[in-house]
Amino acid sequence: MSRRSLSRAFTQRRGRAPVFAALGDETRLSLLTKLGDRQPHSISQLTHGSRLTRQAITKHLRVLQRARIVRGSRTGRESRFILDPRPIDDLRHYLDSVSAQWDEALARLKSFVEVEPLRRRECAAADGSQRAKS
């Protein structure tokens, strides 16, 4: 329903599942934390403080690149990586809208199961009294 109208421009081209999938990993989340300063980082900087090898970090960066969460650039012989926040912003908006829709639907369910029987009983009672009068 209205979830589809949100952040449409971005996701119609790409789809969200690969972005969600890319985020479902501890190592990649920690890389994103480091890249959260929005500055370009070299692989050496991103490997620093991690128990993983350069190759392993590179592999994770490729996954993030494919999901367009991270962009790579080359200066001389060194690759640098920078965060693109748009796909993650889109996911947040998307989840917020899905979440809001469920809140509304569940509120309607709540009043449906809690109020509806009362209303029915009242109607039945009203019918009964009318019938009694006539």
Binding site: G15, A21, R92, L95, R108, S111, P117
Partner: protein, 148 residues
């Protein structure tokens, strides 16, 4: 960011009442605002029309997964696109878990699978495989019929 949504809501109604509101397709339609064509049957597709203001042009589709009386009801669905086609990029699983409490029912709703691979790509892989087999069987048929 978790690829799932979880909501808990306390309902002042017995589990049997909540169960009916969720699994009777007419009652479901009333609070969910969708006019469904038929009942929920495990493994079957349910179609309907969205009654949500502004979205009446949309079709509603879900495949019923589990119906465990007064305990669990689940279905998979796809969000819709503007052109009223199904957004295959996003198949998610919706689950309603019910638990009796002293005041009524605790309902836990989850929607998960936002990180699942696009279903159309899976289908494509399957079709490719299947047509491969079809060709194989035809080849065998030809082989057998040509050489009696």
């Amino acid at each position: 960011m978790p690829a799932r949504i979880e909501k808990k809501i306390a309902l002042n109604a017995p589990v049997s009442r909540v169960w009916r509101a969720i699994t009777d397709y007419k009652e479901f339609g009333e609070w969910f605002r969708v006019a469904l064509e038929g009942p929920f049957v495990p493994g079957q597709l349910v179609r309907g029309k969205v009654l949500y203001s502004g979205y009446e042009h949309l079709a509603w589709e879900a495949i019923v997964q589990k119906v465990e009386p007064e305990r669990l009801f689940s279905f998979t669905w796809h969000p819709m696109k503007d052109d009223n086609s199904v957004d295959m990029e996003n198949e998610t699983l919706v689950e309603f878990h019910l638990k009796p409490t002293s005041t009524g029912t605790l309902l836990t709703l989850t929607e998960s699978g936002f990180d699942k691979l696009p279903a159309d790509r899976r289908d494509f892989a399957f079709r490719k495989n299947e047509s491969g087999w079809t060709v194989q069987i035809e080849n065998i048929n030809n082989h057998v019929t040509q050489k009696p």
